[in-house]
């Protein structure tokens, strides 16, 4: 036990004295959460739109006022002809066109959107339709109809009423950061000892090989606890994402996920011989699936079946589902039984494989 503690102390000295490692461990999580929270966002804010107004009465004026009042839209120009609007669309100056025909003609208000980015277009259409159809001036004028869509569904957004991107990204970023710190840092840490030759000296000592592995992983597990807390604090107070469910539960499932990542790191360290190789393998084999196949950026349901199948072995997928269930929906422990079970199984399986694979000799 004394050996073990001494080893962990040595590992911490190493982490704290190497500026690069410190930056990766403590600064990158904060940068990522701010980056995903603010810069990389799919939310719609102040989209420019134009109005083609043949009506020229208080109805259009009122509509423009109400669209402007929302934070989604901003009036770019009132155009005189459809051609002019089309030019603006082409130049990318506007994203949406609202046309109000003369009252004598059929009272249909048309909405056209630039669908180059289909997700954005759908959102714009929804927001605009909602605003226009619920505005009192339209409701009081039975002759006015909206062209898109024919039937207005009643929309009720559950759990995330403002449709904030952060609600989706915070669990994703947590999955990403824990994977980065636990897997990448552990594998690089072990491989560094191999590369610098210190592993040779450690192996020729009474210190059991299995303890070398455990002692190597422990500091990173402790650091990931700090990171979990930092991320949760940042997302709660900076991004305004509430923790609806139990904090203890959220914390436990995060530790479980951190363990899975640690084991993956150990596994990589048994494959890679150089620090660069370890970095590359953790980058390609772990980070990319976390970003692309975990449902963090792209919905898994829309993927071809083979990728959906593959997504099942990405631990981040299960972790993100569990975090969303606890953090955003506030569900109790029973709701994440399946996810935690799968993560637990992965942790056990990977531990057995990497301990089996760990070489007690150099070759």
């Amino acid at each position: 036990m004394k050996q073990f503690i001494s080893f962990i102390r040595k590992e911490f000295y190493h982490i704290f004295r190497d500026v690069r490692t410190m930056i990766i461990l403590l600064v990158i999580p904060i940068v990522l959460i701010i980056l995903f929270g603010y810069a990389i966002t799919t939310e719609i804010k102040s989209s420019p739109f134009a109005v083609l107004d043949y009506r020229r009465d208080d109805v259009t004026a009122k509509l423009i006022e109400q669209l402007q009042a929302s934070e989604y839209f901003e009036l770019y120009k009132i155009v005189d002809s459809y051609d002019e609007a089309e030019t603006l669309f082409r130049q990318g100056k506007i994203r949406m066109l609202v046309s109000a025909p003369q009252p004598s003609k059929e009272g249909v208000i048309g909405i056209e959107v630039d669908a180059t980015d289909p997700n954005e277009a759908t959102a714009l259409l929804q927001y605009a339709t909602a605003i226009i159809s619920t505005s009192d001036i339209v409701m009081r004028n039975p002759d006015i109809q909206i062209a898109q869509p024919g039937i207005m569904p009643t929309v009720n957004l559950l759990y995330n009423p403002q449709m904030k991107g952060a609600y989706n990204f915070v669990p994703g970023v947590m999955g990403l950061i824990l994977m980065l710190i636990c897997a990448m840092m552990t594998s690089v840490g072990i491989v560094r000892e191999k590369e610098l030759g210190t592993m040779e000296v450690l192996l020729v000592s009474p210190f059991k090989p299995v303890y070398i592995v455990l002692a190597k992983a422990t500091p990173y597990l402790l650091l990931s606890v700090i990171n979990i807390i930092t991320i949760l604090l940042l997302s709660r107070f900076l991004l305004g994402v509430p923790i609806v469910g139990s904090f203890t539960l959220l914390f436990s499932v995060s530790i479980l996920y951190a363990l899975v990542s640690l084991c993956l790191g150990l596994l990589i360290s048994t494959i890679a011989d150089t620090q660069q190789a370890a970095m590359l393998i953790s980058g390609m084999a772990l980070m990319l699936p976390v970003i692309l196949l975990s449902g963090m950026v792209f919905p898994i349901e829309n993927m071809p079946w083979i990728l959906q199948l593959f997504a099942n072995i990405v631990p981040a997928k299960w972790y993100i589902i569990a975090v969303k269930n606890i953090m955003i929906k506030g569900l109790p422990a029973e709701a994440i039984l399946k996810e935690s079970g799968i993560l637990l199984f992965m942790a056990l399986f990977l531990t057995v494989v990497s301990v089996k694979r760990f070489k007690i000799r150099l070759e």
Binding site: K10, H14, L196, T198, V201, S205, P206, I360
Partner: protein, 303 residues
């Protein structure tokens, strides 16, 4: 006879034969040197003996323990200093030593008397990080770390490579003192001049142990007459001496060429007139005692 016993060890890496039927017997408390150039198989042999790699064939034992079967026990009883610097660069001298002491279930205090002679030389820098030490100091620290648990057998893989001549002499003095403490020491070096500091040596080349004996006996085994030859143009001299009928072999050795004669029928006078005929000036020829390096070159010819 415990110490280190090696019997018919072979080891092949893909298509390179690193060790070829190596047999050695090293007694308890002996200071044994493996002398040979890079790629002779010294490191491979060390790694087999320290249980870091498995031999392809043959068997070996350290302190009476089998290197394959009893690897756990061997790892508790030997001290190993690899060829390249293998301590933690980010830890200070003191922290490195304490760390290795703890790993080996001991304390610096307990075995301080063993390392005191060496440690006092680096103690002034005990707060300095190991990565910032000079080459000689690094090796002294590494030796301290390998000794801290009072091992029965000490394996030192090229401990003086990259160390200045003064520190090299100091290092060998330290090994002498350790030997007096009863520790069996197996040391490898590419420097032939260090061979005389060992009790016995083995000359290694291309994975083979060529000759195993005391440095003196190895030198005595050199039977042919040996001459040191100097002249004004050393470069062409080597070529011309090799062409001479009385020459068995000739190699460049620092400021002179060492010439082995075929037999006693040729002599200095004949060589001198041969070289004068070739137009050399300032010719200097003298008979010399063979060094370990001469024996090594001679053995190399017979491989």
């Amino acid at each position: 006879m415990l110490g280190v016993q090696i019997a018919h060890i072979t080891k092949t890496y893909r298509d390179i034969q690193a060790l070829h039927d190596v047999s050695l017997s090293i007694g308890e408390g002996e200071l044994f040197g493996l002398i040979g150039p890079d790629g002779a198989g010294k490191t491979t042999l060390f790694r087999i003996l320290t249980t870091l790699i498995l031999p392809d064939g043959g068997s070996a034992s350290v302190c009476g323990l089998d290197v394959v079967k009893d690897w756990k026990e061997i790892r508790k009883r030997v001290g190993y200093m690899p060829g390249r610097f293998s301590l933690y660069q980010y830890l200070s001298v003191e922290e490195n030593l304490t760390f290795f002491a703890t790993v080996f279930h001991t304390t610096v205090k307990e075995n301080y008397d063993l390392i005191r002679d060496i440690y006092v030389q680096i103690e002034t820098f005990k707060k300095r990080r190991a990565g910032k030490l000079s080459g000689g100091m690094k090796q002294k620290l590494a030796l301290c770390c390998a000794l801290i648990h009072r091992p029965d057998v000490l394996f030192l893989d090229e401990p003086t490579t990259g160390v200045d001549p003064v520190s090299r002499v100091e290092f060998w003095n330290i090994l002498d003192r350790l030997k007096k403490q009863g520790i069996t020491i197996l040391v490898s070096t590419p420097y032939m001049d260090e061979a005389s500091r060992c009790d016995r040596i083995s000359l290694m080349r291309s994975g083979k142990c060529l000759s195993i004996d005391t440095p003196d006996n190895i030198r005595k085994s050199f039977k042919k007459p040996l001459l040191a030859v100097q002249a004004d143009n050393m470069y062409t001299l080597l070529r011309d001496v090799r062409k001479w009928t009385g020459t068995y072999s000739c190699y460049a050795f620092g400021d002179s060429h060492h010439l082995t004669l075929k037999d006693d029928t040729s002599n200095t006078g004949m060589l001198k007139s041969y070289l004068e005929g070739k137009g050399y000036h300032k010719i200097l020829i003298k008979a010399i005692e063979p060094s370990v390096e001469d024996c090594f070159m001679e053995l190399g010819d017979n491989v």
